[in-house]
């Protein structure tokens, strides 16, 4: 039982969620807890299960097995009167109904039987929040994708949901609209009443906006930042097992089939000369990027694949590393996590 975990404002809990599609386990979440008023970023590559997870949280898809608890009450079955409108999802390509912008924004309020004058006032306020004042009478289907995304957000905000789900909100919009959408999400962060869960490919965006990052890989939650994730296939050579990414071959600790691997950037050693050790994976490459993050420095090395390494600032300066320098990367096969 996980009910004992629901304390204070932990009000959305996913427990032992499995979802199968065409007999394939596309989502496997042993446990996931969302707090009230926090912003969560779901990060992962295409096909990682981000949208499926959002659909399940949004009660638009019933998981094959498992439970969803909201304020301690199981809601897995979905359709319940008191839940309607409390969990709202905005799709990657949101659908606007074939009417005016105003009709779209007022849709949820009409469902809630809000008075016409209040509807109008709330719709205007929400359109102002997304920077679309004066758009009320425009035909919704004639808007640009960025404007449509903003109308969809205004429509969702109008009903004041407790949980707002956004599936890749900035995937199909231009830079200007991306900035506006990020500001809207940041506005919700300040509000601290709505729990926001959004999916993204963009790690920087996730870092900027989210209180917590949830990384998905092949339907499973990956415990670390999703860097050095590679897809490919395993190759067996006698006692050795390699993982072939198509560009480089990496020794892995287990036999059998693997679809993807992950190497924690902190588990990779960087040196100016080949490092003599028992570690089986050693690659030469050149530094192509450096990013300082707190007391750490993240270095991107082109070693056939783009590998990221994390070292302390002290080590970085002592080694005198710089962009374009030739370096060697070494890591043990046991540092490779297999999916």
């Amino acid at each position: 039982m996980i009910d004992h975990l629901i304390i204070d404002n932990q009000y959305l809990v996913l427990e032992k969620i499995h979802h199968y599609y065409k007999q394939k386990d596309v989502l496997n979440i042993p446990s996931l807890i969302f707090d009230r008023g926090k912003v969560y970023a779901l990060v992962g590559p295409n096909g990682a299960g981000k949208t499926t997870l959002l659909f399940i949280i949004g009660l638009l898809l019933k998981p094959t097995s498992g439970r969803i608890l909201y304020r301690g009450k199981e809601i897995t079955e979905g359709d319940s009167k008191e839940l309607r409108g409390k969990i709202t999802m905005i799709f990657q390509d949101p659908i606007l109904f074939n009417s005016t912008v105003k009709d779209n924004v007022e849709y949820g309020l009409k469902i809630q039987k809000v008075k016409s004058s209040d509807r109008k006032r709330k719709a205007e306020k929400c359109l102002e929040m997304v920077g679309l004042q004066g758009f009320a009478e425009r035909r919704a289907r004639e808007l640009s994708s960025g404007e449509a995304q903003r109308v969809a957000i205004a429509r969702a905000l109008a009903i004041h949901p407790e949980i707002l789900l956004l599936d890749e909100p900035t995937a199909n919009v231009d830079e200007v609209n991306t900035r506006i959408l990020e500001e809207i999400i940041q506005g919700l962060i300040k509000d601290r009443e709505t729990t926001v869960i959004f999916s993204t490919h963009n790690h920087n965006q996730a870092f900027r906006l989210a209180d917590e990052m949830i990384t998905l890989m092949d339907g499973k939650i990956v415990p670390f930042t999703p860097e050095n994730i590679f897809k490919g296939k395993t190759v067996q050579d006698g006692e050795d097992t390699w993982f072939d990414t198509g560009r480089i071959k990496i020794y892995i600790p287990v036999k059998g089939e693997a679809k993807a691997i992950f190497i924690d950037p902190r588990d990779i050693l960087i040196s100016l000369t080949p490092f003599s050790s028992s570690a089986r994976n050693c690659f030469a490459g050149s530094i192509e990027g450096v990013m300082v993050n707190g007391g750490w420095v993240k270095i991107q090395v082109d070693a056939g694949e783009h590998l990221r390494v994390m070292i302390t600032q002290k080590s970085f300066f002592e080694m005198g590393l710089n962009i374009g320098m030739k370096v060697y990367l070494t890591f043990k096969s046991s540092a490779v996590r297999v999916f």
Partner: protein
């Protein structure tokens, strides 16, 4: 050639002098076609909508049957209904044969598969995310369905217009079930068939013109409705 020009002259004379018999037939035809289409829409739209949005075993078979029924010959419908409502038929006691109700029943059976099949297409053409969006904004199942139907409104309207077109233009079922009784069950098409066989070409032509004007009027109304969106 002479009889054609004479026919046109008679037709215009009958129309512009508002010939009582011609307009009685027109009004009767519009009435039965309206009720036949309305009944068909009441059955065809919900059934088509359900088939359109739900997945169930045998769905493709149902759709194939409906598509086949779209091309159902009107005389076959007439014959089948006749078998049921004639004096010796299982519903013979109801005395429906050769009444306006019999014509409406025939038209209902004719138009329902057409409206149903076109409603399936209309519903399927609506993005699946429309229903999901409605649900996520707090709609219940009925409100979700209404939203999907609203999004499909132009295609649904076209489906109903197509149904109306089918019933107003058919002759076989109306002839067999209505009996083409003057002043009682005579429709435009049965009248055209009868008058032409009698050599009254002008009378038939007048009704033919009116039928075309009705079709044009409906299309103009539909175009206006679509532009207003």
């Amino acid at each position: 050639m002479h009889f054609i020009t004479e026919g046109f002259k008679t037709a215009f004379f009958l129309i512009f002098t508002l010939n009582r018999e011609v307009f009685e037939i027109v009004i009767f035809t519009l009435k039965v076609s309206f009720w036949g289409t309305l009944l068909s829409a009441l059955f065809g739209v919900p059934i088509g909508f359900y088939i359109g949005i739900k997945e169930f075993p045998g769905k493709s078979i149902v759709q194939t049957v409906l598509n086949t029924l779209m091309a159902l010959p009107t005389v076959v419908v007439g014959l089948t209904v006749y078998a049921f409502i004639s004096r010796q038929g299982p519903l013979g006691e109801w005395g429906l044969l050769f009444t306006p109700s019999a014509v409406i029943i025939g038209q209902w059976i004719l138009a329902t598969p057409l409206i149903c099949a076109l409603t399936i297409s209309a519903t399927k053409s609506v993005d699946k995310k429309v229903g999901a969006t409605a649900l996520t904004l707090g709609a219940n199942a009925i409100q979700e369905s209404t939203t999907i139907l609203k999004e499909a409104r132009f295609a649904l309207f076209a489906a109903i217009i197509a149904g109306f077109g089918r019933v107003i233009a058919e002759v076989g079922a109306a002839m067999m079930l209505g009996g083409n009784i003057r002043g009682y069950t005579r429709t435009m098409t049965t009248a055209i068939a009868l008058e032409t066989s009698k050599g009254e070409f002008g009378f038939g032509l007048a009704l033919g013109f009116i039928l075309m004007v009705i079709a044009l009027g409906i299309n103009l109304f539909f175009t206006y409705f679509q532009r207003r969106k």
